[in-house]
Symmetry: C2
Subunit: 196 residues, 2 copies
Amino acid sequence: MAKIVNDREALAIFRKHLEVYTTLSDDEYERVLTYFVPKKLKKHEFLVHEGDWVTNHHWVIKGLLVSNYTDDEGKDHIMQFAIENCWITDQDAFYNQTKAIFNITCLEDTTLMCLSFSNREKMCADMHKMEHYFRKKGNDSFVKQQRRLLSYMTNDAKGRFNLLMAEYPGLYQRLSKKILAAYLGVTRETLSRFKF
Amino acid sequence: MAKIVNDREALAIFRKHLEVYTTLSDDEYERVLTYFVPKKLKKHEFLVHEGDWVTNHHWVIKGLLVSNYTDDEGKDHIMQFAIENCWITDQDAFYNQTKAIFNITCLEDTTLMCLSFSNREKMCADMHKMEHYFRKKGNDSFVKQQRRLLSYMTNDAKGRFNLLMAEYPGLYQRLSKKILAAYLGVTRETLSRFKF
DNA sequence: CAAAAAATGTGATCTATATCAATTTTTTGG
DNA sequence: CCAAAAAATTGATATAGATCACATTTTTTG
């Protein structure tokens, strides 16, 4: 892996991220990397198609992806953005080894590290420290998602916009209004009438 | 603990729950129980007050609790119900060791097992199997919450009602319309006009 | 058991946002 | 660089659900 993804800086950043939650020796980190496979995608390409079996979780080294659900009436609803140093997949389909309900697409050229379900389980079984990492990271994800749910329950689109900007400063410049509206849960016409 | 909570059946149910995600010998299960402290509350009592430091996660042996957020205008929004064999706390405050934004109250007389933050961390450090359990359980909770978020994004209150009933059959009889409306995100007047 | 409190139901508005439609601006690919 | 497609804006309605008001029923409690 370290040979395949020949990006010293990206690997250092990932290690630094893991070490927010656990500590790893050089050997342990080398071992962690062996479970991953690299992947590159161009803008507009799909990482996951609705209906696919979802076999991988993905760490974003570079780029911007979006996880989108299209409802019965053809309306789009965005579950998640992922920029540099985020994980993204269809979690329901990945954890339960079923088929995706989301389309995950690239809004920019993207570089990823892929972690298969079986490799993730093996890594967690073999390395208690990594099981600890994923537990802690999972708790953080849960809390972040709960804040978004609460903002859906209590705020209007402006409040949800502020939450998104607090979480991902600078993301605004990288998104179209259409995509932003789909994330905030309003039509693009309504978003267009807002003055933030 | 096993002596304090002298409810053989409840303990057997909890063990069965853990063993959905991991396997435990008799000795290991005894050890797990030593990390917990029992608690009983009456209907209307508070498990967590908004503004409290949240030091415990709670496993519900018996009863019904609700986690409620009151917004600036005094409107209530229900994040979570917990019935028998559910975990409940203010996760953000618990995981990040800060103060609660939710009030967690009992809608029925309730029996709990409390797991402090430090005991949870110790148990996970000492017993890889329990770290595994909490990782897996955390993933499940994330996915359940994501389904609710998606239903907030795509469905009306009727769709969200159906999701709740699918997750907790029989809960309907135990809830007032006011509480149900606060969970579904509509006023009680609107709920009253719905015919399900 | 009786009074008070809480919950529930229903009618009459009001309002934020969706919808539909047409135009202008920006982006993209050959 | 230009033509076509996509995105964004703006106006005119329509509508689901909120709000306010009040009557009725049920539950709680001293």
